[in-house]
């Protein structure tokens, strides 16, 4: 571990993970070039029957949802005044900001004419959920950037503007929570418009609330996972005294969400389609058992929550269940009505994986350059690309 004696601090040594990242990034760039010269049809399996695929289901819905830890934790620390969680706020805000950056890049690839993205600012349609999501994502990404900026400003010695942002932190956090509440739920509202298309196992008038509460649960799960990956990559300790109570919050959020989902299915009289054990029923069972019942059951035990391996396992299940839910809403649940099957193409997957890898690489760079963790910039790590 103490091999850094001959290295200067923050010295970066490329290794296996760097190579993986470079390959993924080059593949991502290649797909981007094809997409913008040959059109979306050349790189995706999307069609007139199935116009939204992996880039919406995973990149947009999961990217935004899994960044929900940022607004949750800033609210816990700055509004509920639980200051002991302060040490994990910075990495969470960074993860959140990278999550939103990830979403925006993915959107630029998915939009037919991304150079017109500013149209959403100029041409208003207040009847459109997408319009509201566009504004909230834009504003909240700005809020996250401002919340994170003191870290960068301090690094370069600009203490006056950093102090100013510290003083404005309460209104900033309130704005962030407001915007997050609006667009996290609105991602569910996006699907309110398709009552005749989305399968009754997922469609519900309460989808906005489902999306909001599950994002809080999975956002917390993501904070725990991110702490674990940082521990692995940068040889940090796991802040068990903070993560254990966070897992309790996760259980509460997931529990409420699980009950609401069951209520929605009862309302739609859709329990029969689970017992049918058809395609949708199986996917639902997988999602709900692995992603809701299991993590709630496991994390209800104090003994398991307090054990790092179990805690990380529970958080992983919550995040996995969240991703499965969003993919089921956006893909599985829409397939029957569309009359076709959709599986993402290799190039669609390359874009999503390449973007996740880039996010992790930027995270690793940031923790090495700035004081993200309480102990300051990370030095002399041997596994650079594993954080995030």
């Amino acid at each position: 571990m103490n091999t850094t004696a001959t290295l200067s601090p923050r010295r970066f040594r490329p290794g296996f993970w760097t190579a993986v990242f470079v390959v993924l990034f080059l593949a991502f760039c290649t797909v981007t070039v094809i997409r913008f010269t040959k059109g979306l049809g050349a790189v995706t399996n999307l069609s007139d029957q199935f116009p939204w695929g992996l880039w919406i289901g995973f990149d947009l819905l999961c990217g935004v949802g899994l960044a929900a830890g940022a607004f949750t934790l800033t609210a816990v620390v700055h509004l509920f005044n639980l200051k002991r969680f302060e040490p994990i706020v910075r990495p969470t805000i960074l993860t959140g900001f990278l999550g939103y950056a990830f979403v925006i890049v993915a959107l630029l690839l998915d939009l037919g004419q991304p150079w017109r993205i500013w149209h959403a600012i100029v041409y208003w349609n207040p009847h459109s959920v997408m319009f509201e999501v566009a504004w909230c994502v834009m504003l909240y990404t700005t809020v996250l950037a401002i919340e994170f900026s003191p870290v960068v400003l301090e690094r370069f010695g600009f203490h006056a503007p950093a102090r100013l942002i510290h003083r404005l932190i309460t209104p900033l956090v309130i704005l962030g929570v407001l915007l997050s509440t609006l667009h996290q739920s609105s991602l569910g509202s996006l699907y309110l418009i398709v009552p005749s298309k989305l399968h009754p196992l997922w469609y519900s008038p309460m989808m906005p609330l489902h999306f909001y509460i599950s994002a809080i649960g999975a956002g917390i799960g993501m904070v725990i996972l991110e702490s674990y990956l940082s521990k692995r990559a940068f040889h940090r300790h796991l802040e068990m005294d903070l993560l254990e109570p966070l897992a309790r919050g996760m259980v509460v959020a997931l529990g409420i969400y699980g009950l609401m989902r069951l209520q929605g299915i009862a309302r739609n009289h859709a329990f029969a389609s689970i017992l049918d054990f058809g395609y949708e029923g199986q996917m639902f069972l997988l999602e709900f058992t692995l992603g809701v019942i299991l993590p709630v059951a496991l994390m209800s035990f104090h003994r398991l929550r307090s054990h790092p391996d179990w805690l990380v396992g529970g958080a992983f299940l919550a995040v996995l269940g969240f991703v499965m839910n969003r993919l089921n809403v956006s893909i599985t649940g829409m397939e029957a009505a569309s009359g076709t099957r959709y599986l993402p193409s290799g190039m669609e997957i390359i874009v999503s994986v390449g973007l996740v890898a880039t996010g992790m690489a930027v995270f690793a760079f940031a923790v090495r350059t700035f004081s993200i963790f309480p102990e300051g910039p990370v030095t002399g790590s041997r596994r650079p690309e594993e954080g995030g």
Binding site: D48, G112, I174, T181, L192
Partner: protein
């Protein structure tokens, strides 16, 4: 029976819809011989490249399909409360008072929410182009403005596609159904589907067998999102005050715990991360 205003329509979504009933098409499947004159006329009128395809595409805005031994036209239904108009984030789609749902390709940024949301699955996309736009029937909005019928109705040799005022078309459809009992399914497709449409169809074959969606609620889908969106201003106010209240209480509690209670405590606003 006829209502000039659609109950439950999100306010301000369709300009002038409160006073005008608009124009429309009536398609009578029993009279269609499947000659395809409508599709060809549409291609010519809208300068669409390529041959007429069997299904709707960005380049085929209307087509005639044979289902269960009967010919059925597929085209945009031109909803009274169009789902596509409600979901478009840049208002590239609009419903004109004359009836057509028109599309402004200059505004569209290609998010494809209209395709995802349309209950009739009408808007199609130019998947093969690096600078793509949406393609769908616009009910010859330009011709309508000049007082002329749509190109498809003008080309139809049998009168299977009728152009006219929507109220006249409904009257005509009802007359045909009433005069020949048993010759038609007793329903005008488009009268109530998704809140009603400017294009309507009658047939002697059940509509679901013609490949048409019959599970569409009479309430326009746009209402479902509007019920949520219209509450946002109230929500922002209440939630914002509530959040500040939580902060105020917890910070005040800390002040008191520190023993620094001097009766006014908004000092907490200045505490940042250290």
């Amino acid at each position: 029976m006829l209502q000039a205003t659609i109950p439950g329509m999100p306010p301000g979504m369709v300009e002038g819809a409160e006073v005008l009933m608009g124009m429309g098409l009536l398609f009578d499947a029993t009279r269609c011989i499947g000659c395809g004159a409508c599709s060809s006329a549409c291609k010519e009128q809208n300068k669409l490249p390529g041959e007429v395809e069997e299904v709707l595409t960005a380049y085929t805005w209307t087509t005639v399909q044979e289902k269960e031994g009967i010919n059925v036209r597929r085209l945009c239904m031109h909803c009274e409360v169009p789902t596509c108009v409600s979901v478009c984030p840049v208002a590239a789609l609009t419903k004109t008072p004359e009836g057509p749902v028109v599309y402004d390709a200059e505004r569209c940024m290609g998010c494809r929410y209209c395709m995802m949301a349309c209950p009739f699955e009408i808007p199609k996309y130019q998947w093969d182009r690096p600078v793509p736009v949406i393609g769908k029937c616009i009910l010859c909005a330009g011709r309508l403005k000049e007082g002329r019928p749509t190109a498809c109705a003008e080309a139809c040799p049998t009168g299977a596609t009728l152009f006219g005022k929507k109220e006249d078309l409904i009257w005509e459809a009802r007359t045909r159904i009433r005069q020949k009992p048993g010759a038609y399914v007793d329903h005008i497709y488009g009268l109530t589907e998704a809140g009603g449409t400017s294009v309507m169809m009658i047939s002697n074959v059940p509509f679901e067998k013609m490949g048409l969606k019959t599970n569409l609620p009479a309430e326009p889908p746009a209402m479902r999102t509007w019920q949520v969106l219209s509450n946002i201003p109230d929500f922002v106010g209440v939630w914002g005050v509530l959040l500040y209240g939580v902060h105020w209480i917890t910070a005040r509690r800390e002040d008191v715990a520190k023993g620094g209670s001097d009766g006014h405590g908004p000092d907490h606003g200045r505490r940042g991360r250290s």
